[in-house]
């Protein structure tokens, strides 16, 4: 029961990532691409947490934490570059 519901949630998150990827490829300006990159990361954080529960390995949560940290830094740096150059 619980496993089935978690599988459906994984499906929804996968669909969301596909839609985001569409905007990432199409997006007319650089900002659009950075926004979709940000949302891709946030969705993957949820994805990794569910997968960590599924595989029963708590160490995957550390992966999610470091991943979130790196993507946050990346977004800030790109935004700074857009605003006035590095």
């Amino acid at each position: 029961m619980i496993d089935t519901i978690l599988m459906i949630s994984l499906g929804f998150i996968g669909l969301a990532m596909l839609l985001t990827l569409f905007r990432f490829i199409k997006g007319p300006s650089v900002s659009d691409r950075v926004v979709s990159f940000d949302i891709l990361t946030i969705s993957s954080l949820a994805l990794i947490s569910i997968l960590a529960l599924n595989f029963g390995r708590v160490i995957y949560m550390d992966v999610a934490l470091v991943y979130g940290l790196l993507s946050f830094l990346g977004v800030i740096i790109v935004a700074r570059y857009l605003e006035k150059g590095i």
Binding site: M1, I2, I5, L6, I8, S9, L10, F12, I13, L15, A16, M17, L19, T20, F22, R23, S29, V30, S31, D32, V34, V35, S36, D38, I39, I42, S43, L45, A46, S49, I50, L53, V58, M61, D62, A64, L65, G68, L69, F72, V75, I76, A79, R80, L82, E83, K84
Partner: protein, 119 residues
């Protein structure tokens, strides 16, 4: 115990639906500011709900899930604000539906003032 886990699974499902809605908003909205609005924040709530549901399913790992939730709550508004300001500085246009832009008029006034002092 079993009922709490089932409730948690449904909370996870609700969170994933919010993430999906955020992505849908990202595709449908007309300009980058509205995309930031619809996208980042719906997915923030979605991730939060997912983590809360996972805590209900697996209470032994609560510390990692809670840390990730705090991290998401603190960093996400910062990155969306920085992106919005950078887009405005890079002169990316607002959509045609936009009613008003007080920020643009403020920037112009400031520039004119600086120019006046110089000349």
């Amino acid at each position: 115990m079993e009922t709490l886990q089932t409730i948690g699974a449904f909370v996870v499902l609700a969170g994933s639906i919010f993430i999906f809605l955020g992505a849908l908003g990202l595709v449908r909205m007309p300009d980058v500011y509205n995309r930031i609005q619809a996208g980042t924040k719906a997915s923030t709530l979605g991730t939060l709900l997912t983590l809360v549901g996972l805590i209900m399913i697996m209470p032994a790992w609560w510390n990692k899930f809670l840390l990730l939730a705090i991290f998401v709550i603190i960093t996400n508004p910062v990155s969306s604000h920085v992106l919005a300001r950078a887009s405005h500085a890079a002169k990316i246009r607002l959509s045609k539906k936009t009613v008003t832009d007080h920020y643009e008029t403020y920037k112009k006034e400031k520039e004119e003032k600086a120019h006046g002092v110089k000349s």
